[in-house]
Symmetry: C2
């Protein structure tokens, strides 16, 4: 087991390439826990996690076969490995109580609902970022990634919107982000608002939004659009959290 | 103006009949603010609110015509009337700072997201409760209510699921509630969990769930089902909040 060879630092296991949203690295930097990142190709995820004794947190579409997902962590201090970023956030809060808290008492259900709601509202995003992600992978990971997405009714190439359809779907994404915007007070940047407290839900949604910047690039028209939507709310959000990137 | 004739107590304006979910009366009882309920027939809502100088908080599907909705309140102490239950909750917190808080600092965005998410997940519910509500109204309100729902693609009678379809849709509602259940810690009954604190989001979702009890009846199979789903979570939730009903 990799665990036995002794890690000096907490390890974060991420997919190679652009598919990696930085929710977990945001969270670890916020807590001030030193870590090293291990980049893993898609076909190697299952073996790596099994070798570390990290349990799968989901099942494949058949409902039975364990589905091994990233990100995951392995903490050499407690010899514990786990996966799924909310579970990891709770683990970190529990094991490192002296560090800033990602999920303050009484906010767990609310944060989970917020994350679920922001993902549901952003469903127009997948058709843009999934194909872009696929095309950026190396051959080995790409083949594996496409196979994992075979339950989708379309290929990545069919999914990626073109021409008028692209304009419409991009507009739809802007409107959907507008629904999320309405939950915020006008001056608020963070989910917990005026308190100025950062919480895990901020990192979860920011990690999702920044995916657009990752796949299209910092200078792209797409990122400029998103940064400017809703009076610049999302641009300001990413900027405020930049110190944890 | 009704306001000028002098109310002794805060007034809550509710639709007559079963359409009234108790979110606001829960909230006022929780805060311990005495109030009297004024029951209004659907066709009288607009005039009543206009007479009290209460602004509409939404527009009709044309995007322009003001849409006057209930519940609303009129507070004789501040001579203020307003509508939309989250806005009312915030008003009550602000004007009655010595009373228990419905929207604790830092939870507004999270509570709004929770309410939006629970409503979105429960979309299978409308086809049951909207027709049942319609059929319980008196003639004058029923006609008005049906007219207001003409933008829906189906009549109430077409919408109400029958036979196998009914079983499937009821099952779908149970599964959708199961998604909400997953956000809660196993022992939690309230949204803010272990803290034991009640907040507005509890009243909003409970007000929605209890609609099932209102339209089908306390002894109905439907209410027994819902109370028992997810190891009795929703039954326990309603029971815990009963003292504020």
């Amino acid at each position: 087991m990799l665990g036995d060879i002794g890690f000096d630092f907490l390890r974060v296991f991420y997919n190679t390439h652009v598919h990696s949203t930085p929710t977990l690295s945001y969270s670890l930097n916020f807590k001030g826990i030193p870590f090293k990142t291990v980049w893993i190709e898609y076909p190697d995820i299952e073996k790596t996690l099994k070798d570390l004794g990290i349990a799968a947190c989901a099942t494949k579409p058949d409902g039975k076969t364990p589905l091994y997902t990233l990100p995951a962590i392995y903490d050499p201090v407690t010899k514990t490995g786990l996966t799924e970023s909310f579970a990891i956030a709770k683990y970190l809060d529990e094991k490192y109580p002296d560090k800033p808290t990602l999920v303050p008492r009484g906010t767990e259900t609310l944060q989970k609902a917020y994350i679920d709601a922001t993902m549901s509202k952003s469903d127009a995003l997948w058709q843009f970022v999934l194909p872009k992600t696929t095309w950026s992978l190396n051959e080995r990971s790409e083949e594996h990634f496409r196979r994992g997405k075979q339950t989708l009714s379309k290929t990545m190439e069919e999914m990626y919107p073109q021409g008028e359809k692209r304009k419409e779907e991009w507009k739809r994404l802007e409107e959907d982000f507008g629904q999320i915007d309405k939950w915020f007070g006008k001056e608020d940047i963070l989910v917990m608002g005026e308190e100025g407290k950062v919480c895990f839900a901020d990192f979860a949604f920011a990690g999702f939004v920044i995916w657009i910047r990752i796949v299209f690039g910092k200078e792209s028209e797409e990122w400029k659009d998103v940064s400017g939507w809703q009076s610049g709310r999302w641009g300001r959000m990413i900027q405020t959290l930049e110190k944890y990137e």
